[in-house]
Symmetry: C2
Subunit: 168 residues, 2 copies
């Protein structure tokens, strides 16, 4: 037995995004209960040159929809970055999770060796599908999901590790 | 083609830990250059009830050594939590990365269906090897690695996403 590329990607992205939505719900409830402007919480960042909570959530969903598309050779679903509320960010997550359901395992399985090139600014990186998923896409995805959680924690939202796993 | 359980675990843990060591080096250099007590930076946390930087690094290494051991059915390498400096934390990372080299792929490959039970406090969680690796161990590992990075960023260390990937 081995793990398929589908199993290592789509269900992981979908499950972690579900937990991120849960964490965001707790952030929204905390703001409401404490008279905090939700827009202020969404604009919170951990350092002046880091992206705020809203962007962390947007980029997390971008990796979750981008990685399966690149592995399957599909066009990447475009979603404009227009969200201004917790509800809209959760709707974006729901939309990406719905979209992920459209992938059949056989579209992604076998993509281990598929050449994938990523351009970010001047940097061009070439991967096999497996390297791309395990080293690049998952790392980026978790980076933004955990940073979103960390921003909420830093903002005083009562969260624990169980919430990160959707159990809180 | 598919991904093996070894490929999805040992090289990922080792590579991400290498990058974490790089990020810690930058934190140490920043403290030295700015007259910041390194012990103060290691004690920094994002919320009063979150663990400080030092513990985030220790726990990240614990997941990196614990997951392959559980998948292979080996005893988990014990390391006491005694580090008090950036150099000692980097030495801990090096020790775990060296230890990871002792795993032969055939010890971990085929562990997808191995029953794995994790007890944390009152909670007992049962997984297959694949669920454990993809949903639990990787999530926990990245949680602590990214939170360590986020604490350093919040502490003013000049880091960027490239550093998270060991390129900065």
């Amino acid at each position: 037995m081995t793990i398929s590329m589908y199993q290592a990607s789509v269900p992981v992205f979908s499950g972690v995004l579900k937990n991120l939505s849960h964490v965001l719900s707790k952030g929204e409830a905390h703001a409401a209960a404490n008279g905090i402007d939700p827009a202020e919480l969404l604009a919170t960042r951990l350092a002046p040159d880091m992206l705020p909570l809203k962007a962390q959530v947007q980029i997390a969903t971008d990796h979750a929809k981008g990685a399966p598309a690149r592995l399957a050779g599909r066009d990447i679903l475009r979603i404009e970055d227009v969200e201004t509320s917790f509800a809209e960010l959760r709707a974006r997550i729901d939309r990406v999770r719905d979209h992920l359901k459209s992938y059949r395992p056989e579209e992604i399985d076998g993509s281990e060796g598929r050449p994938i090139t990523i351009k970010t600014g001047k940097l061009e990186m070439s991967f096999t599908g497996q390297q791309y998923l395990l080293a690049y896409a998952m790392g980026n995805f978790y980076f933004h999901v955990v940073t979103a959680y960390d921003i909420l924690r830093h903002g005083g939202v009562p969260l624990g590790k169980a919430d990160f796993f959707g159990r809180g």
